[in-house]
């Protein structure tokens, strides 16, 4: 005789099955292949042109009054950072600002450099904020540094080892990628003209275990900022050199003037001195009798 389950037994079977299904979903949810992304950035565009304002294109040639007083600052972050994942430390920011300052200091036409505290720049402060800094700190030109870092983690085929729990601690089956873009944008505040920009990029790829994922991502983020900053430093130097060449060769792009009360110098360049040496001293090294040097007296005088 076939025993039919009672109503209470049926309820129990359904409940156990549901619990098992829930457990399976819960477990696979923990260790199934996943992809997470982090993004942190500060944007010059959002700082200068907030609320979708149209970028202002200067209709006139920017006039730089030499010697320049330059400010260096980080563009305020745009607020999209994930709390607790800010790995571009204040110490790193300060180090980068000091490096950029040193590069500007090496320029002969720069009188002073001011590192501007980040609290002096308001998010979306735009050129009005820069005008305030110009009057408050006496700067003519500002170098704004912005960054954009994206991090992504994905599981490799070896991530099945995470099912064993212990595998989550010993198998590096998480693939981490960190892409960083840094940018220094140099503006003439008075004319609101972009003088030049220099980028710096880096890409850091590594693998980590599931358990060490967050620590590894933080380290990659920090390393990404460091490498991008180093790249930015190199590119900034090239751009500064190019800017000097551009100012010389394309006078239509930037107008150079000197502030009243400047110091003038009578200066003969090396090429002129070199050419003069060639002209005057070459006859001395030629065989005697071929040419008379300018240092010898004329024949009629020596014969007297």
């Amino acid at each position: 005789m076939e025993a039919t389950p009672s109503k209470s037994q049926l309820v129990r079977i359904i409940a156990i099955t549901a619990l098992l299904v829930l457990l399976v979903f819960a477990l696979t949810g923990c260790i199934s292949p996943r992809q997470t992304q982090h993004h942190r950035s500060s944007s010059v565009l959002q700082f200068l042109y907030p609320d979708d304002a149209q970028p202002y294109v200067s209709p006139h040639i920017p006039t730089l009054h030499l010697p320049l007083r330059v400010g260096v600052a980080f563009a305020p972050s745009n607020g999209s950072n994930i709390v607790g994942t800010e790995n571009f430390s204040e110490a790193q920011k300060s180090a980068l600002l000091r490096t950029v300052s040193r590069q500007f200091e090496s320029l002969p036409f720069v009188a002073s450099i001011q590192i501007i505290p980040s609290t002096y720049l308001r998010p979306g402060g735009s050129f009005e904020n820069l005008d305030q800094l110009r009057h408050m700190m006496g700067i003519d030109v500002i170098a704004l540094i912005a960054y954009d870092q994206a991090q992504a983690t994905s599981e490799t085929d070896w991530s099945f080892a995470y099912w064993t729990i212990i595998g989550a601690y010993i198998v590096p089956a998480s693939k981490n990628e960190t892409h960083t873009l840094m940018e220094a944008v140099v503006y003439d505040i008075e004319s609101r003209s972009l003088l030049f920009r220099a980028p710096g990029t880096s890409a850091v790829k590594d693998h980590s275990t599931l358990a060490a994922g967050i620590t590894s991502m933080r380290a990659s983020s920090s390393s990404g900022f460091e490498k991008a900053a180093a790249d930015l430093t190199v590119n900034l130097q090239s751009e500064l050199d190019l800017f000097k060449v551009r100012a010389k060769e394309e006078p239509d792009s930037v107008n150079i003037q000197h502030k009243p009360g400047y110091t003038g110098a009578g200066s003969l360049e090396g090429w002129f001195g070199g050419a003069l040496i060639l002209l005057l001293l070459l006859p001395l090294v030629l065989p005697s009798g071929r040419i008379r040097s300018c240092f010898s007296r004329p024949a009629q005088r020596s014969s007297r």
Binding site: A111, H258, Y262, G264, L268, G273, F295, P298, R301
Partner: protein
Amino acid sequence: MRALRVPLLLFVLPVISIAALDPLAGALVLTRTGIGAGEVWRLWTGHWVHFSGSHLGWNLGVMVLAGVGLESRRPGSLSRYTVMVAPLISGGLLIGQPAMNRFGGLSGLATGVVVLLGLALMENPGRDRRLGLGLLLLVTVKLGHDLLEPAAMFSRFATPGIRPLALAHLVGAGLAVVFAGISLRGKALFPALVHDHKNERRLTPRGRSG
């Protein structure tokens, strides 16, 4: 060696001494406020003050080379030219550059000395004339470069904001031409040159009679 003595005493020793003694440079550099206060010596002495090693090196190098050449050919003319033209260059700069407050550098005088040497060499035929022409061409190229090339805006000096002044070279070269011209017309500013012409005239009839 006599030709070397004048540039050495007139330029090399004073310029190096001034460069070594900072307070001395401050008292000698040409300043608009100083001239306004009656410190007229600055009209002369400003040319001996330099703002960096390369500024001093090239200016002094050119001055010594051209100065020795000029003294070899026209003894005494270097010091006369320097004494007469130095304040005129300074005055030209103060008038022509109203925004300038300070000036230093030997290049205006040195450019003039190169022009004088070129003109002196042009007096003689043959290779001397070609060398003189070469010097004058070099100065012309330099003046053209100064006027057309804004690269000098970014010349390196010890202090930022120092602007190379092409006007100093232009005034120096122009005054050298005037100085030589007046001398050739017998104004005794360039006596060696005038003396040679007299000798030439005296020698020619004797040469013919002999």
